[in-house]
C-alpha cells in the first residue's frame, strides 16, 4: 500500500524523469544494439532511479539517469559473457587507432554524402566502446563535456580524447564505405 509520501515522490519522479524516456531509450539502443534488451534495461533503469530518487540532489536529471542506465547495461554486458563488448576503461585495440589517416585525398573528395539514418546508425553501432558511448552522449543526447564526465565517471580530458577518437573512427569508416561504393 503506497503511503502518501510515496505517492508524492512517485508524482515528482514521474514529472522529473519520464520526459527523458526517449533519451534514455536512445542511449540504451546504441549501448545494447537490441530493441528488447534496451526496453528491459530502460525499465530497470527507471526502477532503480525511483528507488534512489530520495538521495538525488542534482545536478541534472539526464546525466544522472544515464549513469544509472550505464550500470544496468554493464550488468547486461556481463551477462552476455559471449559478447565481449562491455563498457570498460581498459584500453583496447581501438585506443591505438590513430586520430587521423593521411589519405592524400583532395578536400573536395572528402565531402561526405548524406546518408539515411539507418546506415549512419549502423556505422555508429560498429564503433568500439568506450568511444561509442561518449559519441552518442555528445552527438545524439546533447550532453556537455562536463555532463558526459559525470555520467561516465571519467575526467573531462578522457572524455575529450575519447570523443576525438570516436569521431576520427566514424569518419574513417564512413569514407571507407564511400570508397567501396564508388
Amino acid at each position: 500500500m503506497p503511503a502518501i509520501d510515496d505517492l508524492q515522490k512517485a508524482r515528482r519522479f514521474r514529472e522529473a524523469a519520464l520526459p527523458y524516456l526517449d533519451d534514455v531509450y536512445t542511449l540504451a539502443r546504441y549501448l545494447l544494439r537490441d530493441a528488447s534488451d534496451a526496453e528491459d534495461a530502460v525499465q530497470e533503469c527507471y526502477l532503480r532511479a525511483l528507488k534512489h530518487f530520495d538521495s538525488y540532489r542534482g545536478p541534472a536529471m539526464k546525466p544522472w539517469l544515464f549513469a544509472i542506465l550505464r550500470n544496468v547495461c554493464n550488468a547486461e554486458h556481463a551477462r552476455r559473457a559471449h559478447r565481449p563488448s562491455a563498457i570498460e576503461d581498459a584500453p583496447g585495440a581501438a585506443e591505438q587507432t590513430p586520430l587521423w589517416q593521411e589519405t592524400g585525398a583532395s578536400p573536395e573528395s572528402e565531402v561526405l554524402r548524406s546518408r539515411d539514418a539507418g546506415s549512419i546508425r549502423k556505422l555508429i553501432d560498429a564503433l568500439a566502446e568506450p568511444f561509442k558511448e561518449t559519441f552518442v552522449l555528445r552527438e545524439i543526447n546533447n550532453l556537455s563535456y562536463r555532463e558526459i564526465a559525470e555520467a561516465v565517471g571519467a575526467p573531462i580530458g578522457t572524455v575529450m580524447s575519447r570523443l576525438a577518437r570516436a569521431r576520427a573512427m566514424l569518419r574513417a569508416a564512413w569514407t571507407a564505405e564511400e570508397e567501396q561504393a564508388k
Partner: protein
C-alpha cells in the same frame, strides 16, 4: 600547440566547449597548419550531416506504460481502505491545529507552497514552444524599458553573460492572480526564469532553495521586491546565478 593536441582540441572548438583563450590558440594553429585545417573542415562537415539526420530512437508506447504502471499510485493501483483512513487522520490533525489557533502559521506555509507551485507551473508553461519570451533581446537596455507601464514594479534586468548566464529576454506572467515580470536567462541549453514581484516588506530575506517537481527554485527578498529563480540546473549552479545576480544588483545600486 602540437598537431596531436590540436586534433583533440578542435573537437572542443566545434562543440563550443573551449574558453576564449584556448579557442584562439586552436584557431591560430588551424590557420597555420593545412593538415589540421583539413581535419577541422572534415569534422565540421560530418557534424553538419549528423545534425541533419535523426539518429534518436523513440521509446515504444508499451515501454512507457509499463514504467508508468510500475510507479506507486498509478491507475492500476487502487487506494486501499487504510490510505483513506490515513487521509481522515490528517484531516482531524488539521482541525486540531485550527482549534488551537496555530492555523495562521499553517495557512501561511500553505500560501508559500501554493505560490512555489504556481512559480514552477509558470516556468513549465514558459518552456512550451513560443511562450518563453515576449521581448527577445540579449541587451538589458532593451529588455528593461519593455516592462515599463506593464507592471507596478520595474524588474531589475541585469546582463550576466560575462558571468556565464546569458540574458535572452523578458516576459509577462501571472502568479497568484497578479501580473509579474519574468526575466529569462540561459545557462547552456537550460532556461532560468527569474520572476520578480513587488512586496510591502523592504527587509532583506536571504536566499533559500526549494525543490519541486525536479526543478530548483531559489527565492529571496531585497529592496521591496520578491525574487524567484527557477530552473532545472543544479542547486549549486542556481545558487551561483543568484549570487552573481545579487552582486551585480548591489553594484548597480551603489554605482
Amino acid at each position: 600547440m602540437t598537431c596531436d593536441e590540436a586534433r583533440i582540441l578542435l573537437h572542443a572548438l566545434l562543440d563550443n566547449e573551449l574558453d576564449a583563450g584556448h579557442a584562439r590558440e586552436v584557431e591560430a594553429h588551424i590557420a597555420g597548419c593545412p593538415a589540421c585545417a583539413a581535419e577541422f573542415a572534415a569534422q565540421r562537415e560530418m557534424r553538419r550531416v549528423l545534425a541533419d539526420t535523426n539518429l534518436r530512437y523513440v521509446a515504444p508506447a508499451s515501454l512507457r506504460s509499463r514504467i508508468e504502471a510500475s510507479l506507486p499510485g498509478s491507475q492500476s493501483q487502487q487506494p486501499t481502505r487504510r490510505s483513506v483512513l490515513r487521509g481522515f487522520a490528517m484531516g482531524s490533525a488539521v482541525s486540531a491545529l485550527a482549534a488551537s489557533g496555530v492555523v495562521a502559521v499553517v495557512l501561511r506555509q500553505d500560501d508559500q507552497q501554493r505560490i512555489l507551485s504556481e512559480v514552477v507551473s509558470a516556468h513549465l508553461r514558459s518552456l512550451q514552444a513560443g511562450h518563453l519570451t515576449d521581448v527577445v533581446s540579449t541587451d538589458q537596455h532593451t529588455v528593461k524599458p519593455w516592462f515599463n507601464g506593464k507592471l507596478d514594479v520595474a524588474p531589475p534586468v541585469i546582463d550576466l553573460t560575462a558571468q556565464g548566464f546569458t540574458l535572452v529576454g523578458g516576459r509577462l506572467d501571472y502568479i497568484d492572480a497578479r501580473a509579474i515580470g519574468a526575466v529569462v536567462y540561459k545557462r547552456r541549453q537550460h532556461v532560468i526564469n527569474l520572476f520578480v514581484s513587488q512586496t510591502t516588506s523592504t527587509e532583506h530575506r536571504p536566499p533559500k532553495t526549494q525543490t519541486m517537481q525536479g526543478f530548483n527554485c531559489r527565492r529571496w527578498g531585497e529592496r521591496g521586491l520578491n525574487f524567484w529563480a527557477v530552473s532545472d540546473i543544479g542547486a549549486d549552479e542556481l545558487a551561483e546565478f543568484v549570487d552573481k545576480f545579487e552582486a551585480a544588483m548591489k553594484a548597480n545600486v551603489e554605482g
